[in-house]
Amino acid sequence: MPVRVEAGVKVWQRRDRNKQLAIWGGWFAVVLLFVYCWQIISVNTTWFFVWDSPRVAADIASRMVPPRWEYIYRIWDPLWDTINIATLGTVLALFMAVPVAFLAARNTTPNAYIVRPVALFIIVSSRSINSLIWALLLVSIIGPGVFAGTIAIALRSIGFCAKLLYEAIEEIDHTQVEAIEATGASRWQIMAYGIVPQIMPAFAGITVFRWDINIRESTVLGLVGAGGIGLQLSSSLNILAWPQVTLILIAILATVLVSEWVSAKVRHAII
């Protein structure tokens, strides 16, 4: 108990001694872990470059301005590709995520012992692996290009969308489903009238949310050859054409801000 009586006086402490010690111990462990990790990183770091970095940063910054505005005619195409990768990737992902979500949700899965774990495994593996790595893999298998990027985005998004969607399905109000069941509706009718209307707002929200993230992700897929504006970025970086890099970064920033604005508007309209 945090309250003790010492010499007739009630003494109060926030926590009793053991708990307090455990908390200090926990903090100590975190600090120790941090120092250990820091040491590993520090061994693998060339400190000369780090100390030199302000000069390098100033140098890069001075080369980056002014942006090379003429270059903009060369990036409309890749920007269009970038948006297509994100949009079509999201749509493809949804086609696969919806069934996976229904198989993974506790209240709609046909079999909780075999089907559900498989669906959950699909979700976890899709989510664990970054779209850039999916792109790396696909470029290596089916060759570079926009197609690989689209598939990569789709593969990464399945897990994300399916996870959020199955959580939404698990949270639906069961009485509404019961009411539809009570009318003698078939399995698919129950789905259409009892479940789908309840998860529709969540579904739309998830779609727009993921689309927004995918725009951001698809800007870098080109770095591994999977199409989009990243391709231009990496070639400009390779030839150290910093003014072009600046312009590409501005274009990316603008695209991301617009997509964020659009998704905020759409989500607002849904809710």
Partner: protein, 285 residues
């Protein structure tokens, strides 16, 4: 309705989602046209021959999972080759680097994002501070980690230091934004009551704000730890250290069994991290 319509023979249709017919059809047609154009521009670009040629490689990659590489090597050769041992050491090194990057960047990120998150909450920060902090958040969130990593690698050289900074920077954007939103939606009554006792500003934060946002902050930090590990696997692609560089080498050499092993390890760690952070969060509530 002013005029009572007859109940028999009156037609009913589900009202459309968008009332304005012009807008509705405009949106439908616009979306259809966009999808046709976009699909065309993607599909026209595909080199189907290359895809066809790639299929065996895809099969090889999938085959790489069954069984994963060290075991496959033992089965194939009946022993353990030196080359295989070297691969295993490479994977181990990459993993350790990724994990250390994850821990340090999360810790650094949290320490910096708390003050920025406070500054980005409209209800407790003055306007100039608010705009400044929101600006940092916007920059951090707009650029994908890899782009930031390119710049940090250019500045600090190859290696995990650049990766750590990248992930810290990304953590700031993520945590500060969510922390600020949490602070903005806190119960103003509790904070007001602490202010009414004549507390100083830091005391007010400590008693009136912190208890309200702490559980969520811890939950988000754990979540970010998980994200940082996942991201640490990609910053290596541009030379910022971690398991990503090992993975890139494996793909470049078409060593699909090694790649499959690394992916399995990543999935395993992410799964474990998610499971345990879920447990911790449940206990904190």
């Amino acid at each position: 309705m002013t005029v009572a319509a007859p109940t028999i023979g009156r037609r009913w249709r589900k009202p459309p989602l968008i009332r304005n017919a012009n807008l509705r059809w405009g949106l439908y047609i616009g979306a259809a046209v966009y999808f046709i154009l976009a699909s065309y521009s993607i599909l026209a670009d595909v080199n189907w021959l290359r895809v066809y040629e790639g299929l065996p490689r895809g099969a090889k990659f999938v085959g790489g999972f069954f069984p994963p590489f060290p075991f496959a090597n033992i089965i194939e050769t009946g022993g353990f080759e030196e080359l295989a041992a070297q691969r295993l050491i490479d994977i181990g090194d990459g993993l350790i680097e990724s994990l250390t990057m994850t821990v340090t960047s999360t810790v650094i990120g949290i320490i910096i994002s708390v003050p920025i998150g406070l500054g980005a909450a409209r209800n407790i920060a003055p306007m100039p501070v608010y705009l400044f902090c929101r600006g940092i958040i916007a920059i951090s969130r707009s650029f994908q980690e890899v782009i930031i990593a390119i710049f940090f690698v250019a500045m600090f050289g190859f290696g995990p230091f650049a990766g750590m900074l990248t992930l810290s920077f990304a953590t700031i954007g993520f945590l500060s934004k969510l922390l600020a939103e949490d602070i903005e939606s806190m119960d103003p009554g509790q904070a007001e009551a602490i202010r009414a006792t004549g507390s100083r500003w830091p005391q007010w934060i400590n008693y009136g704000v912190q208890p309200q946002v702490m559980p969520r902050l811890i939950g988000l930090s754990l979540y970010r730890l998980d994200i940082n590990f996942r991201e640490s696997s990609v910053v290596g692609i541009v030379g910022a250290g971690g398991i990503g560089s090992t993975l890139l080498t494996a793909f470049d050499r078409y060593e699909y069994s090694t790649a499959a092993t690394i992916l399995l390890i990543i999935i395993g760690i992410v799964f474990f991290a998610e499971y345990s952070s879920g447990k911790i969060r449940a206990r904190l509530q």
